[in-house]
Amino acid sequence: MQLLLFNVFNGLVIGMFYALMALGLSMILGLNQTINMAHGGFLIVGAYLAFTLDPYLGFWGALVAGPLCAAVLGLVVERLLIKPLYKRNEPLYTLLVTFGLALVIQDVARRIWGPQGLPFSIPDVLNSPISEALFFITGYRALIVAIALIAAIALFLVLQYTRLGVRIRAGTRDLETVATLGVNIYVLRALNFALGCLFAGLAGVLAAGQLGLIPTMGESVIMPSFVAIIVGGVGSLVGSILGGLIIGVAAGVMTTYYPAASEAVIYLIMAVVLVVRPRGLLGQEGLFE
């Protein structure tokens, strides 16, 4: 029983990473019409730069700086590589460009920081368990869940109540009309891309503290994040979070009973969802079809 609880909580933490990644991917998918294969690359950038900046800024400073660096890189990438492709109006090209970028980032990270795993030290306070019985809930894991939730809620508040958020939501539905109303959609799309990368960077820093750093860390998270989006429903941000948590917990539970299938199970969940409810749990009809 305790083993199950342990794995469920483990899955929840992993699911939080998936959810953060899926949120960013979903936003970029919506407004930038881009399947960002380099999203794992931005996770690597956030994680490794936080690691490098940690000695100067401390853990909390790095926790803020890492994601910001990923967002700034996102701005640059959007301007140089994605923007020239908007007018082609064909997802194939942005998919391939970000795919190439993912290879470059991973290889460069391997070059700079080495192929082996690196430990990312977190403050001692966070390392101790919260209680004796629930030994597996360390302060850090609780912090991951809390920060991910706060980030998600903050994102929803921004999207719901700020002018930028309203424009992003409107642009996702009908970009042409938004442009006609006098909004600079190039700035809007650039900011949106950076915002998505910010979430990837945040997931990277948090994952680094939990699992350590390795150049392949982005590659292993991005596929489950796609699955999270498909399960939750393309076009629904709440769905992306839900999808991330579902597959995270499912993988955790599977680890208890049949570890060999802990990866395959999330693809089976996706297959079931696609058969039973093709547009995903919370997906809207007619979007991206």
């Binding site: 082609r88 064909e90 997802p91 194939l92 998919l95 290879l103 395959a264 297959a271 991206f288």
Partner: protein
């Protein structure tokens, strides 16, 4: 028209004589076989990608399934090369046929995402099902067997195997070419050009996309089977989404809208990969840069550009 026939004659003559001239220009026979195998896989992919407009980013799944099907047949079932190829093709083809319905109603982004994700399922099965698939280390311990033709026995050394691959490639190309010239192929192109109009004409679009997906996957699996026989080995990397991405970039590099484009793309990509990986450890960076440059600067691909030059619009 005559120029086209002449170009085709030259192409086939070059392919048929490759074992003689390849070593002269610094290549080797196995590289020639690999080029033909990947060309068959990418031309099959292009049937779906370039001619039906289905953005499949998971074709490595069928390639790898073909490889595992062929390898496992040789290892566990029977020492027969044709049987191995047949089983590999059927396994991959069956998977594509069964999975087709999950994407046939989708377009663009959704189509790509689902095909990417589905492909990974097979990757993890191959990695985790250690006892049967050899896990992360890959499936080894099998070798292609001599062919028995009537009373003849043909041992498959590198050169003989190249010609087996060439025959298979020719057969695959003939199938793809005939399909694209048939009414079925015309319908695929119509769907690519304007899906809504095709729908209004009363065409069962989803069923046509399914057919394209299934045929494309089956032929890719055939290529995958040959690939396993070429290396006498197959590994989860043959199922990985990175290979799927490589397939797509090879198609784009050569020219998506042209029949022979993928062959040109494969030659450039494989030679570049072979050369770069012998030159530097960081060849992945260069491959990534090739991806980016091709998309930004040469989106129509090599043959697309040549055609635009010879036939101004």
């Amino acid at each position: 028209m005559n120029r086209k026939i002449a170009a085709l004659a030259v192409l086939w003559a070059l392919l048929a004589s490759a074992p003689w001239w390849l070593p002269v220009v610094g290549g080797y026979t196995q590289l020639g076989s690999r080029v033909l195998i990947y060309a068959l896989a990418t031309m099959s992919l292009n049937l779906l990608l370039g001619f039906t407009g289905g953005l499949s980013f998971g074709h490595a799944a069928y390639f790898g399934l073909g490889g595992y099907g062929a390898g496992m047949t040789l290892k566990y079932l029977a020492p027969s090369t044709p049987l191995a190829l047949l089983v590999g093709t059927l396994v991959g083809g069956a998977a594509a046929t069964l999975l087709g319905p999950s994407v046939m109603r989708r377009r663009g982004i959704y189509f790509a995402m689902i095909t990417i994700a589905i492909g990974q399922l097979f990757y993890f099965v191959a990695v985790r099902w250690n006892e049967v698939t050899g896990g992360e280390d890959g499936l080894a311990g099998f070798a292609r067997q001599p062919l028995h033709l009537g009373g003849w026995t043909l041992p498959l050394d590198d050169t003989a195997f190249y010609y087996l691959v060439l025959v298979c490639f020719a057969a695959g190309v003939a199938i793809i070419g005939l399909l694209l010239r048939s009414p079925l192929g015309r319908t695929w192109v119509a769907i690519r050009e304007n899906q809504r109009r095709a729908q209004f004409l009363g065409l069962p679009v989803a069923r046509y996309v399914w057919a394209s997906f299934a045929i494309s996957g089956t032929l890719t699996a055939f290529a995958g089977g040959l690939n396993a026989l070429l290396n006498n080995f197959t590994s989860p990397q043959d199922l990985h989404w990175i290979l799927s991405g490589n397939f797509v970039i090879m198609v784009v590099l050569g020219g998506m809208r042209s029949f022979w484009g993928p062959l040109a793309g494969v030659i450039i990509f494989l030679v570049a990969q072979d050369y770069l990986s012998s030159l530097t450890e960081n060849w992945m960076t260069f491959i990534g840069i090739i991806f980016i440059l091709v998309v930004l600067l040469f989106p129509r691909g090599l043959l697309g550009m040549l055609r635009a030059r010879t036939r101004p619009q």
